[in-house]
């Protein structure tokens, strides 16, 4: 477990913690972008180059920008938050999250004896990925394409302004 792994893990976890605890929303969005970048570096350490660069391109280049735009479009200017940023039921949520982590951590550590260890790095070329996408995984690829198209159209329709008649009321 090299120093690089621990450094990147610390960065990612710090980003994640900052993202869920900070008060200012845009700071949360930027912190989660740091977490995404840390995760991309973890992917690169696992020799998954294509997944790592796709993670940067999609998450930091698109999802983070989406989140930031949504924050800016849903601001209530200058109204102070009553009750703070955490929900009334924050304790229950925290307990549930801690319980989930405990269960997962126990599962990982208890099964550690049976986990396969250091294997040789797989030499995966992008050409193999392309051929897999067009060969064995062509059906999921087409379904994801359909899903993305419907998500695109759906997002536009959901967020569109309602057209208003001159006589009043929405069309």
């Amino acid at each position: 477990m090299s120093f690089a792994f621990w450094a990147v893990t610390a960065l990612t976890v710090a980003g994640g913690l900052a993202a869920v605890t900070l008060k200012n929303l845009v700071h949360c969005a930027l912190a989660v972008s740091v977490a995404f970048a840390g995760l991309a570096m973890l992917f690169l350490q696992l020799d998954a180059q294509f997944a790592g660069f796709a993670q940067i391109l999609v998450y930091i280049g698109a999802v983070a920008i989406l989140v930031v735009f949504a924050i800016l479009l849903t601001r209530n200017a200058d109204t102070p938050k009553e009750g703070g940023v955490f929900s009334r039921t924050w304790l229950a949520g925290l307990v549930v999250a801690a319980a989930v982590f405990a269960v997962l951590g126990w599962a990982v550590l208890a099964g550690a004896k049976g986990l396969p260890n250091e294997a040789a790095a797989p030499a995966v070329t992008v050409q193999q990925i392309g051929q897999a996408l067009m060969g064995r995984y062509v059906l999921p690829l087409e379904i994801v394409a359909l899903l993305l198209t419907s998500a695109l159209i759906g997002a536009v329709i959901v967020a569109m302004h309602e057209a208003v008649n001159e006589k009043g009321g929405a069309k």
Partner: protein, 391 residues
């Protein structure tokens, strides 16, 4: 002798590294490459700034800066001294950390892109399998820094400029990627080195550059347009137009941080020019087969400089596009053209050698351009004037 001139930097690197023990040699070689990139591109940036101001001045029928040195050659030095010694003003209510980090993120992301550009024969810093994807990933990271700069200044003009810039960059990122995907399709690899090697052949004296094919020419045109929009260059520079938004998202920056933004923008221009030269113009290969004795890195930098001159020329010539015209253009013309280009490249590939595929593919591209560009983008007649009041 020709070989040595071509590989002079590689040989220099090997010679310098041979002084170190074997365990450190690889790291030292990479470090030398990084230092070279960090030294060369800001120098080119200084030259480009000077070229831009003189060039724009001449196009606007005036001299550019000509006071500081003979013909104004020392102007970049004066600019550098000015930027470094100006007071660094941070607005009182600005978000301190984000305001500080934004130019850093921009410069880092932009310089990372140079790691995968092949600047000469055997002169790539990192030869990855998915290097084109890495370059675009770094380009996508610059959008976040633009937004950070605009938002942290707590200034309406900055925020507006940042939103416009981000919307523009996102809109033109898709045509940029799609016009490069055509090249990926034809070479079968995402690695920039393979793309240059695929273009390094000659029939007679003419090179096999991708720009000399119908789909390559259309892709090149789309790439140029999209790259001008990605780097916020005129005619797409509404986000930073001086007459519109003060200075857009870097209104509240002064001194060295402004110089960093400026550096980031120009170095980003160099990066994308380098990518365009690699993808379409053959990278480091010579234009004619009798010119291969000239070192390969000279050809690469010459092509990058030609791109920069073209950017400067377009800036001095065309008027600025309005935000809605810009987005309209991206989504309704450039994007469909890139998709048609993909189909065109596929047709080229499957038609086999011969003159027929030239005719068919050129016809497809021309027909698409005429239909979508000339007919589809014709402006609607202006209706009666309508007013919208702020609510």
């Amino acid at each position: 002798m020709v070989e040595k001139a071509d590989q002079i930097f590689v040989l220099l690197q090997h010679w310098l590294v041979s002084f170190l023990p074997a365990a450190w040699q690889h790291a030292a070689a990479v470090l030398l490459g990084v230092v070279a990139i960090i030294a060369v591109y800001p120098t080119l940036f200084a030259l480009a700034v000077l070229m831009e101001r003189k060039g724009l001045g001449r196009m606007q029928n005036r001299y550019g800066p000509n006071r500081v040195g003979p013909y104004g050659i020392l102007q970049p030095v004066a600019d550098g001294i000015k930027s470094l010694t100006k007071e660094d003003i941070v607005p009182f209510r600005a978000d301190g950390l984000v305001h500080f980090v934004a130019p850093l993120v921009l410069v880092v992301a932009v310089f990372m892109g140079f790691a995968v550009l092949p600047m000469g024969r055997n002169m790539v810093l990192v030869d990855m399998d998915a290097s084109l994807l890495f370059f675009f990933a770094m380009g996508a990271s610059t959008e976040l820094s633009v937004f950070m700069a605009g938002w942290s200044s707590r200034n309406k003009y900055s925020l507006l400029g940042a939103m416009r810039a981000v919307a523009q960059m996102i809109s033109y990122e898709v045509p940029l990627l799609l016009s490069s995907v055509v090249i990926v399709m034809m070479t079968g690899s995402l690695s920039l080195e393979r793309m240059v090697e695929a273009q390094n052949h000659y029939t007679g004296i003419f090179p096999h550059w991708f720009v000399f094919t119908p789909w390559g020419l259309a892709g090149f045109a789309m790439f140029v347009i999209a790259s001008m929009a990605e780097t916020n260059r005129s005619p797409f520079d509404l986000p930073e137009g001086e007459s519109e938004l003060v200075a857009g998202y870097f209104t509240e920056y002064s001194g060295f941080k402004f110089a960093l933004f400026f550096l980031g923008e120009y170095v980003g221009m160099f990066g994308i020019a380098g990518l365009g030269a690699t993808l379409f113009l053959g990278g480091w290969s010579a234009p004619f087969s009798f010119l291969t004795w000239v070192p390969s890195w000279i050809w690469f930098f010459a092509k990058v400089e030609i791109w920069i001159c073209f950017f400067i020329w377009v800036r001095g010539t065309l008027p600025r596009l309005r935000q809605d015209q810009l987005m309209n253009f991206a989504w309704k013309f450039v994007l469909p053209m890139t998709l048609v280009n993909l189909v065109d490249a596929a047709v080229w590939r499957f038609m086999g050698e011969g003159w027929l595929r030239w005719v068919v593919c050129s016809a497809i591209v021309l027909a698409a351009y005429v239909l979508m560009g000339r007919v589809g983008m014709r402006r609607e007649h202006l209706g009666p004037r309508s007013y919208r009041y702020a609510e």
